[in-house]
Amino acid sequence: MMAIRELKVCLLGDTGVGKSSIVCRFVQDHFDHNISPTIGASFMTKTVPCGNELHKFLIWDTAGQERFHSLAPMYYRGSAAAVIVYDITKQDSFNTLKKWVKELKEHGPENIVMAIAGNKCDLSDIREVPMKDAKEYAESIGAVVVETSAKCAINIEELFQGISRQIPPLDHHENGNNGTIRLGNQTPQTIRRCC
């Protein structure tokens, strides 16, 4: 039996860059042109193998709170990784990426793994952001970077694999979440992040 590790991943990026579409593609292998702006969806999970562990991604979507710069700090709590998304056809969305990174550094957990996704790479004929810019920037902050297309299922798996690889191996000493309680419907469940 492989050990399952729960990894919270939060999504960041401007409205309309394709955050929800990326999760939807990753979790359900599905793409919907008329996806409503994140109503009702905020929490999806998918488990993938990584080495001799299973990584169970708990993926949080912004729920639109970022639209007026009002993301709650609880959104970042305990995140192992953040996916910061921009739209390669919108220079603006790349410019604001840096703001999201800064925000993460201020409010996110200290050792959070950062992954940058240049989404909508199927539209490269109307590209505004050169791949080179993203690569350079990602390198400067030590982030993983890929260009993705939620629409055409390009590099979505790779994005999350990239995250998996950056997650430091489980440190048995700092298994400090002993006694943490999640409130369930009937039975309270004490979390064990390693079996």
Binding site: M2, E6, D14, T15, C24, V27, Q28, H30, D32, I35, I39, G40, A41, S42, F43, M44, T45, K46, T47, P49, K56, L58, A63, G64, Q65, R67, F68, H69, S70, L71, A72, P73, M74, Y75, R77, G78, D92, N95, T96, K98, K99, V101, K102, K105, E106, H107, E110, S140, G176, G179, T180, I181, R182, L183, G184, N185, T187, P188, Q189, I191
Partner: protein
């Protein structure tokens, strides 16, 4: 990236405290379009929690006298002749007597304090300039030098120095009297010296710059509460599924204070029997009494005659030693010696006992990262169902239609008029004109950072609650909640201690300092000769008073339109019952036919009701890991 706000909603909620956030979530959940705004840059109002630098900014704000009123677009031209305005307050007045005392060394030449830029926004976001958000976006985007190496994170200091701090080190335990010079100590602290053959491991002195540097490890709540494990808030969290956004710790110890000593109070059956402090006879007495309390209503003859007496009087008639009486009164019922009657006492005792054992051997839970997470969890729920969130968004006035007497819109600080059917406003936003007939009580609060627990034990990771009975005539009972670092509210090696009482004297410091002195000693970098010091040391302290706006009758406010609801700030009690009750009452007024925060029909994970995929039927297969396993709540997996 900031769009313009829509000009029409069903419900507008002003203030992001707990009751407002619950109402926002409930309304949004029932399909109402909700605009939720707060004029502050952080969530929670007086229910908020801050990291250390965020707290310093908060302190500064309340220590500053001047009203740095921004220019707001004039609203006067925006209302019609048939309308009138309820003008809201520009600057919050609910917090007073803010005092900070730093007991640890505050060297100004400490390298760390020079490191970074000022973090302007305590908790949240890239707050846009009030007038042109895009402007801000541009300027700070061009600044790539901001990407910090881990060592100079932009959260320290300049501000630290600006906060008004009472320095007590000189007159209490001056460093000057210490034989070692500051410089030498610095070296000892930062450079491991190989020749140092000192037999005992060197004590690690904590300095102010360390607290500042590790400031993000702190989550300091303005309001100190716990969740009763069978209380209304827990029930609501579970029922509505909001619970998935938070994690909790069980409070591990109930403490009592008697004759100057802090003692652990046994309360569960196992505790009672394992207690080394109680005699066999006492154990039996206590168990018998507690068993009776669990179903006291079945035995009215046992207490009928004492219904008019105080609980304390009643306890004297029971077979209990003074020791046991003290614990039952102060630590279990947590009622006051003088003012609560027998029935209150019995009810509180039963409530306590009923909450035992649900999650652990005390009745209380505490949210990881602090109580300040609670409003945010409900806000997220609201947003998930389409609610619109705007911090840093002040409302100048509510617009009332003269003829119908109903509120119809707000005018925000940009001068935008936004209409709605219902308006929920937190008390602190109301102007003096609206509240001229209201009398408020005050809550006294202290927040301490200490270097040790008030009761040392096998583990240094306890979460404890202690009630200190009134220390002198005319003072109040003080509730003390001590949080260890695994609650994610303070840095390793420290404790965060919250003191709360009803204010009876002039300032919070006057109300609480005596208790602080009884439990702690000021920090001193002096190695004590006879080893362990008996009391933990105070590193840093904050005192303030907060207005208690609970229990105010709606009629006390002047001219409230019928579709406007006023939420209270935090009350003085331990639980969150008042906030939940108020939210529910207002919600039922607004939407009488709707259920309050019903459970989700499907887990919210399933929204993509697209044609091809039917997420519900995807059953996780244990051997093919690369399957979708996440269509359900994490909680539900446990039951498979």
């Amino acid at each position: 990236m900031a769009d313009k706000l829509p000009s029409e909603f069903d419900v507008i909620v002003i203030g992001t405290g707990l009751p407002e956030s619950i109402i926002a979530a409930a309304c949004s959940r029932s399909g109402q379009s909700v605009l939720h705004v707060d004029s502050r840059s952080y969530y929670g109002g007086n229910w908020a929690g801050f990291n250390f630098s965020g707290l310093l900014s908060w302190i500064k704000e309340y220590q500053e006298e001047s009203d740095v009123g921004e220019e707001w677009a004039a609203w006067q031209e925006l209302i019609l002749e048939t309308e009138e305005a309820i003008v809201l307050r520009k600057k919050d007045q609910t917090v007073q007597h803010v005092e900070v005392i730093c007991y640890v060394r505050q060297d100004s030449d400490d390298p760390i304090e020079k490191a970074g830029a000022v973090q302007k926004n305590p908790v949240s976001v890239m707050s846009p300039g009030l007038n042109d958000p895009l402007d801000t976006v541009d300027t700070s985007c061009s600044d790539t030098s901001e990407l910090p190496a881990p060592h100079n994170e932009p959260e320290t200091a300049l501000e630290v120095l600006e906060v008004e701090v009472t320095l007590e080190k000189e007159n209490q335990h001056g460093y000057t009297s210490c034989s070692q010079s500051a410089l030498e100590r610095d070296i000892a602290e930062h450079v491991p010296i190989m020749e140092d053959v000192a037999n005992a491991p060197k004590k690690h002195w904590i300095t102010y710059s360390q607290i500042v540097k590790e400031g993000r490890k702190f989550n300091i709540d303005l309001t100190s509460k716990l969740l009763y494990s069978r209380g209304l808030l827990i029930d609501l969290l579970i029922k509505s599924n909001v619970s998935r956004y938070a994690e909790f710790k069980n409070v591990t110890r109930i403490l009592g204070y008697q004759e100057g000593n802090v003692l652990q109070v046994p309360c569960s059956r196992a505790d009672v029997f394992n207690s080394k402090k109680l005699t066999m006879v006492e154990k039996r007495m206590l168990m018998k009494f507690l068993t009776f309390c669990l179903d006291y209503e079945q035995h009215p003859d046992e207490y009928k005659a004492y219904e008019q007496s105080t609980f304390s009087e009643y306890l004297k008639t029971q077979k209990l030693t003074p020791n046991l009486r003290h614990f039952v009164l102060h630590s279990i019922a947590m009622t006051s010696e003088t003012s609560s009657n027998t029935l209150d006492g019995l009810r509180e005792t039963r409530n306590f006992l009923q909450c035992l054992g649900r999650y652990g051997n005390t009745p209380f839970l505490f949210p990881l990262y602090g109580q300040g997470e609670m409003p945010q969890c409900f806000c997220r729920m609201c947003a998930v169902f389409g609610g619109t969130y705007c911090l840093n968004h002040a409302v100048q006035c509510l617009v009332v239609d003269k003829e119908s007497g109903k509120c119809k819109a707000i005018i925000d600080h940009f001068g935008q008029r936004i209409s709605a059917k219902y308006f929920v406003v937190e008390d602190s936003y109301l102007s003096e004109k609206t509240c001229s007939n209201v009398t408020y009580r005050q809550i006294s609060r202290a927040v301490l950072i200490t270097d040790g627990s008030i009761l040392n034990a096998d583990s240094d990771q306890h979460i404890s609650i202690l009630t200190v009975p009134p220390v002198e005539p005319g003072s109040a009972a003080v509730r003390v909640i001590e949080l260890c670092s695994s609650t994610m509210t303070c840095m390793k090696g420290t404790y965060l201690v919250h003191l709360t009482c009803m204010s009876l004297k002039k300032t919070a410091r006057e109300d609480l300092e005596l208790v602080v002195q009884k439990l702690f000693t000021p920090y001193a970098e002096v190695e004590l000769e006879n080893g362990e010091q008996e009391k933990p040391s105070l590193l840093w302290a904050l005192y303030f008073n907060m207005r208690d706006s609970s229990g105010i009758n709606r009629d006390s406010y002047n001219n409230l339109p019928s579709n406007m609801y006023v939420c209270s700030g935090p009350d003085c009690f331990l639980g969150n019952e008042h906030a939940v009750k108020q939210a529910k009452t207002f919600f039922q007024h607004i939407l009488p036919n709707e259920e309050f925060c019903p459970p989700l029909p499907n887990p919210e994970d399933i929204v993509f009701d697209g044609d091809g995929v039917q997420p519900e039927v995807l059953v996780p297969k244990p051997d093919t890991a690369k399957e979708v396993t996440g269509q359900r709540n994490p909680e539900e997996h446990a039951q498979e």
